[in-house]
C-alpha cells in the first residue's frame, strides 16, 4: 500500500449564463497515509463532493495532480456516494457483483453480506429496500472490490440516529478486517471524531485546507459519547475558526 498525494492548484467551474465563474478549490494539498482513515470536515457547499469527484476521476477538468507514491500504480478506488446509486433493475447481489473487477471470486461478498445482515436480501431489487439497507448494500459494494482507496461522501446523512450509528459501527468493523485508505466527507464533527484517524478541516470556497488534527482517542473508547464530546469541546475551544465553519 502507498500514500496518496493530492495537490489541486485550481478547480473552477466556467461561467454559465446568470452566474460568473465559480472558483471551487484553490491550492489544496492533502496527503493520505497508507491505511489511514481521514475525515474531511467543512461547511456544506465547500466543494467536498467536487474534490471526491476529482480523486475518483469523474471530473478531469482541473489543474494539479493526484497520484500515489511507491509503485506508481493507480489506486483501486471505491466510491460511496451520498445516495446509494444502486441499479434498480438489478438485484442486490447483481449490483455488487457487477462492480467486482474480473477474476475476483464471490467469497468476500458472501462474508460482507453476512456481516451487514443482508444475506437474506441479496435476491431483492433495491426499490424494495429501506434507505438504511440500500446504504448498507452500497457499503458492501464499496468494500467488495477490495479498494486501496475508499471515498465516502456523507454516506450516512438522512439516516435516523440509531441506524446511522449501527452502520458506522459496521463500517469500522469491516474496515478493521482489511484496513485501507479512507477519505470520508462529512459536516458532522461528532461523526468525524468517532470515525477518523485524522480530521482535515476545509474552508468555504474557494476551498483550501484550514487545519488538521489527529484524533487520539483509542478506537475502543469511541463508543463512549462523553469522550467524543470532550474531544469536540477541546477542539472547538482551541480553534475558534473551526466553530465558525460548523
Amino acid at each position: 500500500m502507498s500514500r496518496i498525494l493530492i495537490d489541486i492548484r485550481n478547480k473552477a467551474y466556467p461561467a454559465r449564463h446568470g452566474s460568473g465563474e465559480h472558483r471551487a478549490i484553490e491550492n489544496l494539498h492533502i496527503e493520505l497515509g497508507a491505511g489511514e482513515f481521514v475525515c474531511l470536515v467543512g461547511p456544506s457547499g465547500c466543494g467536498k463532493t467536487t474534490l471526491l469527484n476529482l480523486i475518483a476521476g469523474l471530473d478531469r477538468q482541473f489543474e494539479g495532480t493526484i497520484k500515489t507514491d511507491g509503485k506508481a500504480k493507480t489506486p483501486r478506488i471505491a466510491y460511496m456516494f451520498q445516495n446509494p446509486r444502486l441499479l434498480p433493475w438489478r438485484t442486490v447481489r447483481e449490483n455488487i457483483d457487477l462492480a467486482l473487477p474480473g477474476g475476483q471470486d464471490g467469497k468476500a461478498v458472501d462474508h460482507l453480506l453476512e456481516v451487514m445482515g443482508l444475506s437474506q436480501s441479496q435476491g431483492q431489487y433495491p426499490e424494495r429496500l429501506s434507505l438504511g439497507m440500500s446504504r448498507r448494500v452500497a457499503l458492501v459494494r464499496a468494500f467488495a472490490i477490495q479498494p486501496t482507496l475508499l471515498l465516502m461522501d456523507e454516506p450516512f446523512v438522512s439516516l435516523d440516529a440509531p441506524t446511522a450509528r449501527r452502520v458506522r459501527q459496521l463500517l469500522i468493523r469491516v474496515w478493521l478486517e482489511r484496513p485501507h485508505t479512507v477519505m470520508f466527507v462529512t459536516h458532522d464533527l461528532r461523526e468525524a471524531i468517532t470515525l477518523a484517524d485524522r480530521l482535515v478541516f476545509l474552508s468555504a470556497p474557494p476551498t483550501t485546507l484550514l487545519h488538521e488534527v489527529a484524533v487520539d482517542i483509542p478506537r475502543h473508547a469511541r463508543e463512549d459519547e462523553a469522550e467524543v464530546e470532550a474531544f469536540r469541546n477541546r477542539l472547538i475551544s482551541g480553534h475558534p475558526e473551526i466553530s465558525a465553519l460548523l
Binding site: 475518483a56 476521476g57 466510491y79 456516494f81 433493475w89 438489478r90 457487477l98 462492480a99 426499490e127
Partner: protein, 247 residues
C-alpha cells in the same frame, strides 16, 4: 352476474350480436352477417390465398420494423447525447414527422420505381422519425448518477451499455415498438395497395374493385387477430419482463 358482464368474452359476444342484428336488419351486400364472413375467412385460409398474402405482408412488416427500430434507436441515442446536433436536427425531425404518409409513399415509388426496396423504404421513412423522437427522450433522461457510479467502479463501455443504459432505454423501445407496429401495419397496406402485386393491401384493393365487402371483413379479422397475438405473446411479456424490478 356483474362479474359475468365484465368478462371480455361477454363484450365480444355483444359486439357480434349487434353486428348480426344490424346485418339482418339491413339485408345489404354492404354488410354481410358474421357467419358469412367467417365462412369466407375459412375458405380463404383453406385455399392458401390468405396465408400467402398475410405472410408477404408480415415479412414486409418484419423487415421494415427491424430497420426502423434499429436505425431509429441508433439515431435517437446519438441525438440524446449530443445537445448541439440535437438542436440542429430537431427541425428536420419535425418536418419528417409531419410529412403525410401518403406523400412519402408516392415519392418513394416515383424516385425508386415500383420495387420491393421502394416499398420498404417508404414504410421505414414513415416510422423512423417516431422512433428517433421516442428513443431520444429516453437517452436524454438517462440517470447521470448511475452513469457516474459506473464510471467510478470502472464498468467499461460494454457493461455500462448493457447494465446501466439499456435497462433505462428499454421502456422507451417497447413504447416505440408498440406504437410502431400499429403504425407500420396501417401504412404497409397503403404501400401495397399503391405499388405491389401481392400482400394484404393488394388483396383488399381487389376486393374493393369487386365490391366484395365479405372479403374485406374476412381479411380484416385475420389481420386484427395476428396483431393482437403479436401484442399479447411478444410485446406484453417483454414489457412485463422489463418492469419486474418495479415496486
Amino acid at each position: 352476474m356483474r362479474s359475468a358482464l365484465q368478462h371480455p368474452i361477454f363484450s365480444s359476444l355483444l359486439f357480434l350480436a349487434l353486428w348480426q342484428s344490424l346485418a339482418l336488419l339491413l339485408v345489404s351486400p354492404a354488410l354481410p352477417t358474421p357467419c358469412v364472413v367467417f365462412h369466407a375467412l375459412y375458405g380463404e385460409i383453406v385455399s392458401g390465398r390468405l396465408p400467402y398474402h398475410l405472410g408477404i405482408t408480415l415479412a414486409r412488416l418484419l423487415v421494415s420494423f427491424v430497420l426502423a427500430m434499429g436505425l431509429g434507436t441508433l439515431a435517437g441515442i446519438f441525438l440524446g447525447q449530443h445537445e448541439k446536433l440535437d438542436r440542429f436536427f430537431d427541425n428536420w425531425l419535425v418536418i419528417f414527422l409531419n410529412v403525410p404518409a401518403l406523400v412519402t409513399i408516392i415519392l418513394c415509388y416515383v424516385w425508386f420505381g415500383l420495387t420491393e426496396a421502394a416499398a420498404i423504404t417508404a414504410v421505414v421513412a414513415n416510422k423512423l422519425p417516431n422512433v428517433v423522437v421516442t428513443v431520444r427522450e429516453g437517452a436524454r433522461a438517462l440517470d447521470r448518477d448511475l452513469l457516474e457510479m459506473a464510471q467510478a467502479y470502472r464498468f467499461g463501455r460494454w457493461k455500462t451499455l448493457r447494465h446501466v443504459i439499456w435497462p433505462q432505454l428499454f421502456p422507451y423501445l417497447i413504447g416505440a415498438s408498440r406504437t410502431g407496429i400499429a403504425l407500420i401495419w396501417k401504412i404497409i397496406l397503403v404501400v401495397e395497395l399503391l405499388g405491389r402485386s401481392n400482400g394484404m393491401g393488394y388483396q383488399l384493393h381487389l376486393f374493393f374493385q369487386m365490391f366484395n365487402v365479405t372479403g374485406i371483413l374476412a381479411y380484416t379479422i385475420a389481420f386484427v387477430t395476428v396483431i393482437q397475438l403479436i401484442e399479447a405473446l411478444l410485446l406484453k411479456p417483454l414489457d412485463r419482463h422489463a418492469k419486474r424490478w418495479r415496486r
